[in-house]
C-alpha cells in the first residue's frame, strides 16, 4: 500500500516537472502558423565531420515537400534530427509554430511527426500488425495485448488511405512494397500529421511508385504534411510541391517544383551539368555466351519461383531484365550463382553447364556478379578495401604464391583500381570498407568484378540508393564493358534503368521471360503492362 | 592392508634428515620454528574429504604444538610438483602431499631434495626413499564395520553403496562394506542385497541424491557413500526419504542428525597430526609406510551413534575387536572380496 502511494507521488512529481519543462521550451512563436516544420541553422557534427552546416528547412502544412541531394549530402541526417534520433549542435526547430526540443523519437511522435526510414525499421519475424502497434500497444490493464482490437484499428486506417496490407503476414514474407506501406501505417497509427519518407521509392516497382504517389496525395488531402527524400527527379516532378536542395551538408535552394525542369534540379543538386540519359552506340552483338534453358528453381518455401525460363545473352550486348520484384529474379540470380539448387533445366556458360556446381565454379567460368545487397553479399565490411578487391581472386598467381598472399601486388592492384574507378577517399586501400560511403562501396564492387575480366557481367540493381552522378557512372561502366565485347546481364526493378541502358529488354513475369524487345522498339507503357502480367495488346490476362 | 612390508629397506640405519636432528635437540621449545606445509590435490582444501580433513589435522597439530602450518592448493595436476617445490623453498620441515594422485610428483621431489622431508597420504611405495613417508589407511576396516551395522539395522534386507569414481581407494570402502554386510547376513541367516552404483563424480550433488533416492525407492533403507561432495546428495536423499545414510571419512551426522546411521571414519587428520608430531619429537619417520588402522584410532566409527541400536553398536564393537586382533581381515578389492566370501 505504502509502496503504491510512494510510486504514485513520484510519478506525479516527474510528470509535473516534465510539463513545466515542456512549457518552458515551447515558447510560442506566432508568425508562420501554417508552417508545419521550420528548421533553422541546423548544424550537426559526427566527431570532426560536419554533416550539416546551418541548414534551413521550411515546410508548409498540407504540402508534399521534397528534399534532394547527392549521396551523403545530409538529407537523412537532417530528418533524423527532426525525428529526434540525433541532436543538432546548433539551430532551432519549430513544429506547428511552436519552438520545440526534440530529445528523442518519443517527443517527435508526441508532436505528430512520423518517419519512414531509408532502411526499413521493421522487425522481420514479427507480423505486420505487431510491427505497427509496437511501442503503442493496445492492451488491457495488465499489459496483455489485444490483437483483435489492434487489427480493427489497422483495418480502419487501411481503408481510409488505401494502404493495403495483410495484418497477419510476417514481414520477412511480404514484398518491399507492402513493407513500405507498413512503415507508413506505423507512422499514421501514431497519429502522425507530418510524415517523413526517406527514399521511399528506391525499392519500389513502377506500379508501386504510382500507388505511393497516389497515397501521398490522399494523405495531403487529409491535411497531412509529407517530407519526401528521393534521388528520382521524375518522382519529384510528379508528386512534390516544393523541393529543397542540399549539397554537402549545406542548404542550396528551395524551389517550386512546377517552375523547374528535371535537368535544372539535377544541376542544382550536383553543382554542375549532368546528362540524365546515357549516351551510347548501337550494340553489335556477336555469338551467344550465356544460355538458360527451361530453368526451374524453387524458392525457400519449395514453390516453383522460376518456371521453365529461357534466356540468351550474346557478346557485346546488354540484356536487361525488367520485372516487378518477386517474379523470380531473386531465385534466378541464386541459381546462376549456384547459391541454390536448380530443379531442372540448364544454365550454360561458354557451352559448359554450370548449374548445381559451386559459386567458385561460376566465377571460374568467367561470370562476375554485382549483387544487389552490397553489404551482405558484395563486401566483407571488416576487410580493408584491398582485401575486398581480391575477395574472388586471392588465389591467382598474381596475388599469392604457394598459399602466401603477396601484399605488395595486392596493394598495387588496389591502388590502380581505386584510381580507375574514382573511389574516394583515394588513399583508402588500407581502410576498412565499412568506413566508405554506400556509393564508394559500390564502386569497389564494380571495379573488382570488372577487373576479373569476365565474359559475362551480371549487375543486379547496381544503382540502388545511388545518386544521379553515381548512377551515371555505373551505367557508363556497363556500356564500356559491352563495348569491350563482353556480355552484360542487367537485372533491375527500375524500368527507367532497363529502358535506358539495355540493348535487349526482356520482361520477366511469374518466373518466365514473357517477351524480349530490342531497345527502341517498345515503349515504357507496353513493358509496364507485360511486367504486370498483361499482354502486348494491353490486356491483363 | 597393502603396505605391511614396506619398511624393510633398512630405514633405521640411515641418518635422520638434518632438520630432524635439530628438532631433536630443541624439542618443544622450538616448535614455533617447526614448519609443516601441505599440498592439496586438485580437490582443493575445501573438498569435504581428505584434503579438508588433512588441513584440520595440521591445524590441530599447530594448536597443540605451536608449530607453523600452511597449505598450497593445486587446481591442476600439473601444479603438484611446482607446489611441492615451493614448499621446499619456504623451508618446511615436513611437506605433506595429500592423495595418491600426487605419488609420482612426491617421489620425484624427494629424489630432487634429499634434505627435505615428505609424507604422502593414501599411498604406499614399493620402495620408499629415506626422506619420504607413506601413510595408508585400512579404510576397509571401518567400512566392514558400518556394513555389519547396516546389515543388523536394515528392515528391508536391502542396503546400498554409492561410490564417487571407481578407484582402488574407493574399492576399499565398497568391498569392505559389502563384506561386512555379507558377514552379518551369514550370522543372521538372512539374505541381504547390496545395490552398488557409481556416480562417476565426486561433485554432483544432484546425482548423488538421485542415485540414493532410486536405491531407497527400490527397497534399500540404508545407503553408504564414499563419494565426497556427491555424498552430500546421498545424505540429503536419506533425509528426504526418512531413511538412513552412512557417512564417510569424518562423522557426518551433523549433516542430517536423524538420518545418519553412523560414519566410516578415516581420520586423515589424526594421521597427519600424529606423524607430524613424531617428526617434531625427533622420531625417524622416513623410508617407511605407516598403516593406520583401528589400533591407531585413525579409522573406526564414531563413539556416539544416536541412531544405532545399542545392541547393534555392541556387536559392531565386538567385530572391531576381532578385526584389530586379526581374526577378521576385511577385503579391500574385488579379488580379496571373493577370497573372503569363500
Amino acid at each position: 500500500m505504502r509502496l503504491t502511494l510512494v510510486s504514485c507521488v513520484t510519478v506525479f512529481l516527474a510528470k509535473s516537472c516534465f510539463i513545466l519543462y515542456v512549457k518552458q521550451e515551447e515558447e510560442r512563436v506566432d508568425q508562420g502558423k501554417d508552417c508545419a516544420v521550420r528548421m533553422k541553422g541546423i548544424t550537426k557534427r559526427f566527431g570532426h565531420f560536419t554533416a550539416l552546416q546551418e541548414v534551413d528547412l521550411e515546410v508548409q502544412k498540407g504540402t508534399i515537400h521534397a528534399i534532394l541531394g547527392e549521396n551523403g549530402a545530409g538529407k537523412s541526417t537532417l530528418m533524423n534530427v527532426l525525428y529526434g534520433l540525433y541532436q543538432a549542435e546548433e539551430g532551432s526547430i519549430e513544429v506547428k509554430g511552436k519552438r520545440v526540443n526534440i530529445k528523442n523519437p518519443n517527443v517527435a511522435i508526441g508532436l505528430g511527426i512520423g518517419m519512414v526510414h531509408q532502411h526499413f525499421m521493421l522487425v522481420e519475424n514479427f507480423t505486420v500488425a505487431q510491427n505497427i502497434i509496437l511501442g503503442q500497444e493496445v492492451t488491457n490493464r495488465f499489459g496483455v495485448i489485444s490483437m483483435a482490437k489492434a487489427k480493427e484499428q489497422i483495418e480502419e486506417m487501411v481503408k481510409k488511405y488505401g494502404l493495403h496490407v495483410d495484418p497477419d503476414a510476417k514481414i520477412e514474407e511480404i514484398s518491399v512494397g507492402m513493407q513500405q506501406r507498413v512503415e507508413i501505417l506505423k507512422a499514421l497509427y501514431r497519429g502522425a500529421e507530418i510524415l517523413i519518407l526517406d527514399e521511399p521509392t528506391a525499392v519500389l516497382t513502377p506500379q508501386e511508385i504510382q500507388e505511393l504517389i497516389h497515397i501521398m496525395h490522399n494523405l495531403t488531402k487529409d491535411g497531412k504534411t509529407i517530407i519526401i527524400i528521393t534521388h528520382k527527379l521524375k518522382e519529384i516532378k510528379e508528386s512534390a510541391d516544393i523541393c529543397t536542395i542540399i549539397r554537402r551538408g549545406r542548404y542550396i535552394d528551395s524551389v517550386k517544383v512546377s517552375d523547374v525542369t528535371e535537368e535544372e534540379l539535377a544541376n542544382k543538386m550536383v553543382g554542375h551539368a549532368v546528362k540524365l540519359v546515357i549516351q551510347k552506340e548501337k550494340a553489335e552483338p556477336k555469338e551467344v555466351v550465356f544460355e538458360i534453358n527451361d530453368l526451374v528453381v524453387e524458392n525457400e518455401r519449395k514453390l516453383e519461383a522460376v518456371k521453365k525460363l529461357n534466356l540468351k545473352v550474346r557478346k557485346g550486348e546488354i540484356v536487361g531484365i525488367a520485372g516487378i520484384d518477386g517474379n523470380g529474379q531473386k531465385e534466378l540470380i541464386e541459381a546462376i550463382t549456384c547459391l541454390t539448387k536448380v530443379k531442372s533445366g540448364s544454365i550454360k556458360m561458354n557451352h559448359e553447364e554450370i548449374q548445381n556446381t559451386s559459386p567458385e565454379n561460376v566465377i571460374r567460368n568467367k561470370i562476375a556478379t554485382i549483387h544487389e545487397d552490397r553489404q551482405k553479399r558484395g563486401l566483407v565490411l571488416n576487410f580493408t578495401v584491398a582485401e575486398n578487391t581480391i575477395l574472388e581472386t586471392y588465389k591467382k598467381n598474381e596475388f599469392s604464391k604457394k598459399g602466401f598472399l603477396n601484399k605488395e601486388a595486392v596493394l598495387k592492384h588496389t591502388k590502380q583500381l581505386i584510381k580507375e574507378y574514382d573511389v574516394r577517399p583515394e588513399d583508402c586501400e588500407n581502410q576498412l570498407v565499412r568506413g566508405l560511403s554506400g556509393g564508394n562501396q559500390q564502386k569497389v564492387i564494380i571495379g573488382r568484378e570488372i577487373a576479373n575480366e569476365p565474359d559475362l557481367l551480371i549487375a543486379v540493381q547496381p544503382t540502388r540508393g545511388l545518386d544521379v552522378g553515381a548512377i551515371e557512372y555505373v551505367h557508363k561502366m556497363l556500356v564500356r564493358e559491352r563495348d569491350k565485347g563482353k556480355a552484360v546481364l542487367l537485372i533491375s526493378l527500375e524500368l527507367d534503368e532497363v529502358m535506358n541502358v539495355a540493348d535487349t529488354i526482356a520482361v520477366i513475369y511469374d518466373g518466365k521471360i514473357v517477351q524480349s524487345f530490342e531497345q527502341g522498339t517498345v515503349d515504357e507503357q507496353t513493358i509496364g503492362l507485360l511486367m504486370a502480367g498483361g499482354n502486348k495488346n494491353g490486356q491483363i490476362k | 592392508g597393502k603396505s605391511s612390508t614396506d619398511s624393510e629397506d633398512g630405514t633405521q640405519t640411515n641418518e635422520p634428515a638434518v632438520e630432524t636432528e635439530e628438532a631433536v635437540q630443541e624439542t618443544e621449545a622450538a616448535a614455533t620454528d617447526f614448519n609443516v606445509g601441505m599440498v592439496t590435490d586438485t580437490g582443493g582444501v575445501n573438498d569435504k574429504s581428505f584434503n579438508q580433513s588433512a588441513w584440520e589435522g595440521l591445524q590441530q597439530f599447530a594448536a597443540e604444538t605451536g608449530a607453523q602450518v600452511s597449505y598450497l592448493e593445486s587446481t591442476q595436476e600439473a601444479d603438484y610438483s611446482s607446489n611441492l617445490d615451493k614448499q621446499v623453498d619456504e623451508g618446511k620441515n615436513l611437506i605433506w602431499g595429500i592423495g595418491f594422485a600426487m605419488a609420482d610428483a612426491i617421489l620425484e621431489a624427494a629424489d630432487m631434495n634429499p634434505d627435505a622431508n615428505y609424507a604422502i597420504i593414501d599411498n604406499a611405495y614399493a620402495e620408499t626413499p629415506d626422506n619420504l613417508t607413506g601413510v595408508v589407511f585400512s579404510a576397509q576396516d571401518p567400512s566392514f564395520m558400518v556394513g555389519y551395522a547396516a546389515a543388523y539395522t536394515t528392515e528391508t534386507n536391502s542396503v546400498g553403496f554409492v561410490g564417487g569414481m571407481t578407484s582402488d581407494v574407493i574399492d576399499q570402502f565398497e568391498y569392505g562394506y559389502r563384506a561386512g554386510v555379507a558377514y552379518a547376513a551369514k550370522e543372521l541367516g538372512k539374505e541381504i542385497t547390496v545395490d552398488v552404483q557409481y556416480a562417476e563424480s565426486f561433485s554432483d550433488l544432484a546425482k548423488g541424491k538421485a542415485i540414493a533416492t532410486t536405491m531407497f525407492s527400490n527397497g534399500c533403507d540404508i545407503v553408504f557413500h564414499a563419494a565426497g561432495g556427491t555424498g552430500i546428495g546421498v545424505i540429503e536423499a536419506a533425509k528426504d526419504a526418512g531413511k538412513f545414510a552412512i557417512g564417510v571419512d569424518s562423522d557426518q551426522s551433523d549433516l542430517a542428525p536423524e538420518n545418519v546411521l553412523t560414519s566410516a571414519l578415516k581420520r586423515v587428520d589424526v594421521a597427519i597430526s600424529l606423524i607430524s608430531k613424531k617428526l617434531l619429537e625427533g622420531e625417524a619417520i622416513g623410508g617407511q609406510t605407516f598403516s593406520f588402522g583401528l589400533a591407531e584410532g585413525a579409522v573406526g566409527i564414531p563413539e556416539n551413534n544416536p541412531n544405532m541400536a545399542p545392541e547393534v553398536y555392541e556387536k559392531v564393537m565386538a567385530i572391531q575387536d576381532k578385526i584389530a586382533a586379526g581374526e577378521i581381515t576385511p577385503p579391500y578389492n574385488e579379488e580379496t572380496f571373493e577370497a573372503f566370501n569363500q
Binding site: 561460376v362 | 598450497l72 591442476q76 615451493k86 630432487m112 578407484s167
Partner: protein
Amino acid sequence: MDRLNKILKKQITATFIAIFFGFLVATVILAVAGYNPFEAFAVLFKGIFSRPKYMANVIIKATPIILTGVSVAFAFKVGLFNIGAEGQFIIGTVAAAMAGILLDLPAVLQFPLLILIGMAAGALYGAIIGFLKAKYGIHEVITGIMLNWIAFYFCNYIVNTHTFHQDNSTGSKNIREAGFDIIYNWKKSAGGKSFLKENPTLMEIIGKTDLNIGIIFAIAAAIIITIVLNKTTKGFQLRAVGFNKDAAEFAGINIKKNMIHAMLIAGALSGLAGALMVTGISHKLSTLGTFENYGFNGLSISLIATNSPIGCIFAGLLFAGLLYGGGSIQSEIGAPSEIINIMIGTIVFFVALSRFIPVLVDKYGRRGGKHVK
C-alpha cells in the same frame, strides 16, 4: 593531445588499464576483508619473480593455456566460439597417453609421434563441432559443452580400462620414457645430470621444474597462426568467412569446408596442448575429478588478448603468473586464494569494458579540442 588520444585508443592500452583496475578492485576487496593488499601483492610478485625457477614454473603453467587461448582466438577469427577447447585438450592428453603407453619406438620417433597423435585427436574432436555446425547447423556452443563432458568421461573410462590402468593408483600407467619430453630425457641422462650440477641456475630452472619444450611449441603456434591468418590465402578465406559468411560464399569460398577446417585447426592446437602436458609434465592420465580448466582458461586468455594469437602469449603468462604467484597469498598472509579468481575475473571484466575507452577518449578528446580552439 592527439598522440595521447591515439595511444589511449590502442587496444593494448585498454588492456593495461583493465589490468590496473583488476589490481585496484583486488586491493579494495583485500582491504575490506582486513588484509594488507600491498603485502599480498608483494607476496604475489615475490612468488613469481624472486627466483628463476618460479618464472620457469609460470612459463610451464602458461604453456597449455597459451595454446588453448590461441585455439579459442583462432576459432573466434572465423566467427566460432570454441567453448569445446576443454574437451579437445582432454582428448589430446588421452590420445597421446594411449599411444605413449602402447607404442614402443625410439625416442626420436616416439616423442614427435605422440605430439602428432595428440594434435590429430584434438583436431578430429574439434572437427566434429565444425562438421555438426556445417552439416546440421547445430550451434557450436552446445556441441562444445556436450563434447567437453564426453571427453571427460572418456578419459576416466580409458584410465580405468585394464590395458591402461596402473594398479594401486587413480591414474594410468606412465607412457614409455621414449615419449617423454626431450628436456626431461636430457636432464635425466648422465650427461645432463653432470652438466646441471655445474650450472646451479640451470639446475634450478630445468632440474627442479618440469620445464619442457612446450613453451617453444606455444610461441611457435601463436606465430604460425598469426602468419596463417594474415599472410596466407587460407587465413584470408577463414577471416572472410568469419566476418561475413554470405559475402564469402558469394565470392566462391566454401564456408562449410572452412568452418570444419577452422575447428580442425583450433582442435589441433588444444590437442597439442594436451599432448605436451602428457609428454612434458604428467606422463600419464589421471582420473579427472573436475575439469582442470585448461580450455576454459584458454577462453579467458583469448579474451584478455582480444583474440590476438600473439597477445595470447602475454595474456597466458599474466594469467599463469597470477594463478601461480597468487597461490602463495594464502599460505603467507592467510587471505583466501579466491581473491585471485576475483582479480582475474575483474581484469577480464575490464577488458570487456575497454571498448568504452575509445568512446570516452572521443568524448573527452573532442571537448579538449574545443578548449584549445
